[in-house]
Amino acid sequence: MSETARFTEDILSIAREKAQSIISKAQEDADRILNEAKSNFLREASEVVKTAETEAEAIRRRQVSEARHTLKLREQEEKNKILTEVLDQTRKRAAEITADENRYLQYLTKLSVDGIQEIGLENVVLHLNANDLKRFGEKLNREIGRQMQNPGKVEFARESIDAAGGVIISNDDDTIRIVNTFEQRYEALEARLLVEAGKLLFNE
């Protein structure tokens, strides 16, 4: 090989190496950039999946929780239905005592005596509904007299009260009243009746 040929071969060889080096460097840079980017977008993709997994868990929980809530409401509705029925029946059944004259008289006497003792006055006025006033009047007075050693003066109000049964005990001028009507007793006992009914029906 001539000197010139060796020289030109050297020039071309160096150029080839340099060219290869330029391309290799560009390829290395590209690979590095791609790897960095890959690591970023794979993280990004992994976040998308992770978010979906979290959301999936929330979806599952929400659906079960909604079902549980709906069932709880239905259970409460059913219980309320039974409770309402039992309390209505109790109110009705308690009011039926008025049909049993002897038993009702005893009960009315007890309500009156309790009220007279509670009001603690010499003279008291008893207020009854029209039917009770007509049925009992003096009978009730006698029963009260039998049960209390010194009942004082017991009178009956001429005006009847609007109640299913029971009695209101007041002083002469009607400024102090002990209300022992069925309605009042029922209202006063309602919270306790609910608790008792819950225990009896649902063991709560």
Binding site: A30, A45, T51, A52, I59, L189
Partner: protein, 104 residues
């Protein structure tokens, strides 16, 4: 070979070397340009695939949640029916006890 011919050969070789380097630079620029496109394509593929997977995960969760809720509802409805039957059978005795309480 004359001196002139020798110079021409060397000049041609240098031209060729220069062309090689230009070509290499062009390829390097092309590689660098291409990388942005490659990254965007790969990113888009990866995200597309992740979104698809995410959609499958949530869809599966919807179905699983639904069937879990239905199972829970079946079991609880049965328990509720039992509760109602049991409580209903206690209504009469409860009324009696409550009436006693009202009239006591």
């Amino acid at each position: 070979m004359s001196g002139l011919e020798t110079i021409k050969i060397i000049v041609d070789a240098e031209k060729e070397a220069s062309r090689m380097l230009e070509e290499a630079q062009r390829k390097a620029t092309e590689i660098r340009k291409q990388i942005d496109v490659t990254i965007e394509n790969r990113r888009s593929e990866a995200l597309q695939s992740a979104k698809q997977k995410a959609s499958e995960i949530t869809e599966r969760a919807e179905n699983e949640g639904k069937s879990e809720a239905e199972k829970f509802e079946r079991e609880s409805s049965e328990k509720l029916r039992e509760l109602v039957t049991k409580s209903s059978s206690k209504k009469e005795s409860a009324v009696k006890k409550l009436v006693e309480l009202v009239l006591s």
